[in-house]
């Protein structure tokens, strides 16, 4: 199973929080919160499929992506084919531009760059940059695919592959990114792994208040 292509959506989860990735893709957990719901509704609109052409730019929706070289596969929200025939990925996010959390922003960029690696292989071209469209603020921002970002994609891919093989749940992040995570209850990031002071099931103190 380690030879199967790594799902692009998994890279986003993994980059944001490896435990979140493992909960969803290994433990089979899923829970909704207002952010995931909003994202889903928006993606339903985006993923209508079909193509359209305007001002010489062809817009492809829900385009299946694959990279045999890097072992990646997934679906792009939108790919624009420019007049010169080169593709540009556009990832739709329901949030307002750009994510306030550093890791959230980075995870989006990793996802977009991973799409690009697939497109480069599929179209035998090189893609310098893509776009993230923030529906919350109706803005798109450009993300350039630096060597560092490209390397980060492959690091995340390897991390995902290792996790899928070992199936060991990473420890919780237990920082501010957990507050927005829909899997908070399933993860219990702040519940101590060991017993906290004062919690002792074998205690024989007798309190008489």
């Amino acid at each position: 199973m380690t030879d199967d292509p790594i799902p692009l959506s998994g890279l986003t989860h993994y980059t944001y929080c490896p435990r979140r990735f493992a909960l969803v893709h290994i433990e089979g957990e899923w829970a909704e919160n207002v952010y995931t719901k909003r994202g889903q509704q928006q993606h339903q609109r985006v993923h209508g499929g079909g193509t359209e052409e305007r001002d010489g730019v062809i817009t492809l929706r829900s385009l299946p992506l694959v990279s045999r070289e890097h072992g990646l596969a997934g679906v792009a929200d939108v790919v624009e084919i420019l007049a010169d025939g080169t593709p540009r990925p556009v990832e739709y996010k329901s949030s307002k531009a750009p994510k306030t959390h550093k890791l959230g922003k980075f995870a989006e960029e990793v996802q977009l760059c991973a799409q690009s690696l697939c497109l480069e292989e599929m179209f035998t071209t090189s893609i310098p940059a893509g776009f993230i469209y923030h529906a919350g603020s109706h803005r798109r921002r450009e993300v350039s695919f630096t060597p560092d970002l490209r390397a980060a994609v492959l690091v995340a891919r390897d991390g995902v592959r290792d996790l899928l093989r070992d199936r060991v749940l990473p420890p919780p992040a237990a920082d501010d990114r957990c507050r927005l995570c829909s899997l908070f209850d399933e993860c219990e990031p702040f519940a101590p792994r060991a017993f906290p002071p004062g919690y002792d099931p074998f205690s024989t103190t007798l309190e008489d208040r």
């Binding site: 290994i26 433990e27 089979g28 957990e29 899923w30 829970a31 919160n33 199936r167 060991v168 749940l169 829909s182 908070f184 209850d185 399933e186 219990e188 702040f190 519940a191 101590p192 792994r193 060991a194 017993f195 906290p196 004062g198 919690y199 099931p201 074998f202 205690s203 024989t204 007798l206 309190e207 008489d208 208040r209």
Partner: protein
């Protein structure tokens, strides 16, 4: 985020439940009795001859809301299994732990410890509340249970844990009637009797424990655990051993206390029971309704979970505990932490 919603209990015989534009419509003798919006309902428990339309069952399954069928008198019969229950890795880990004597012993000790701690807390709380009867006997019982808690870490087999738990149970039930402050000549208890109950308290305990066991089995199933593979309770065909394990620590804190409250407030009185030839005692339908209403209210009460330190409705504690059990079995935490009620 998981929210606590209501469980819909239907015990009117001959009721028909069906889907009516996102509502559960309850008809009795072709008359509309109730319309309950689906988004207020977490699951349905029906007693005896109650019909559900296939479309309602499908919709509930799609929304991951279980339907549980009990006999008219509350014995468990069946529960729906909804599409996404069951992480196969979790189940194999659970089975592996159940086959490993050391791991089984460790979980069984913590489950028993949780139960004994909560029995102790219940007794000490009652000792503070009773004035006219015997607070000293209740305190002595709490001390005896404390001694049993001290023995738990020394147990070497699950059978020994069961022995400790049994000794504590004898102490607990001996003084249980002392916690009753109303109709004391009617509510008595000499020993736990199951099928059939031979006194009013036992009939109440049996009913409330069935409801609680069902909550625990649903919780186990919804986090992907196999409700039948437990640790403290021996594996036996048809027995939801894990649900019974999860229930142990909740019995004193939720079920026992609910019964005491209802009797002491005189919401349950001798009128609510039927004595049958041969000594069996059953509860009337009205009394069952009173109990279910009280349990529904109690489920909303918020408690601070001693491990997660989060405010949690009492009704969600079985879910939290099932989740913690799953985390332990999958190696995410080294021990199973029982729920200690304050």
């Amino acid at each position: 985020m998981r929210q606590l919603l209501n469980t819909l209990y239907v015990q009117t015989q001959g009721s028909y439940l069906h889907l009516d534009t996102d509502n559960i419509r309850v008809d009795v003798e072709r008359q509309r009795k109730a319309m309950i919006p689906l988004h207020h309902v977490e699951g349905i428990v029906v007693f005896g001859n109650v019909l559900l339309s296939p479309y309602l069952i499908h919709r509930l399954a799609r929304d991951h809301k279980p339907v549980t069928w009990l006999t008219e008198f509350g014995r468990f019969m069946a529960r729906t299994e909804t599409p996404v229950s069951g992480n196969v890795l979790l189940r194999t880990a659970q089975h592996a732990a159940a086959c490993d004597p050391d791991r089984t012993l460790a979980v069984a000790r913590f489950v028993a410890a949780g139960k004994l701690q909560n029995q102790k807390t219940t007794l000490m709380r009652a000792a503070r509340e009773v004035q006219d009867s015997d607070p000293d006997l209740l305190r002595q019982a709490a001390r005896d249970i404390n001694a049993q808690i001290g023995v738990l870490p020394l147990t070497g087999t699950v059978d020994e844990v069961r022995g400790v738990e049994g000794a504590a149970a004898r102490t607990y039930w001996e003084v249980f009637p002392l916690m009753i402050r109303a109709n004391r000549d009617f509510f008595w208890l000499t020993e736990r009797t199951r099928r059939p109950a031979r006194d009013p308290i036992n009939s109440l305990l049996n009913f409330v424990y069935t409801i609680l066991a069902n909550d625990c089995a649903s919780a186990a199933q919804s986090v992907g655990l196999d409700p039948q593979v437990g640790f403290l309770h021996a594996l036996r065909p048809g027995r939801a051993s894990l649900a019974l394990d999860l229930m142990e620590e909740l019995r004193p804190a939720t079920a026992d206390r609910a019964i005491l409250t209802l009797i002491n407030r005189q919401q349950l009185t001798p009128r609510d029971f039927q004595q049958h030839e041969g000594g069996a005692v059953t509860i009337t339908e009205d009394a069952r309704r009173t109990i279910l209403a009280h349990l529904t209210e109690r489920r909303k009460e918020e408690v601070t979970h001693p491990l997660t330190a989060r405010k949690t409705p009492l009704g969600l504690i079985p879910h939290v505990q099932a989740r913690l059990m799953a985390q332990h079995l999958r190696g995410d935490r080294s021990h199973y932490p029982p729920y200690l009620h304050r």
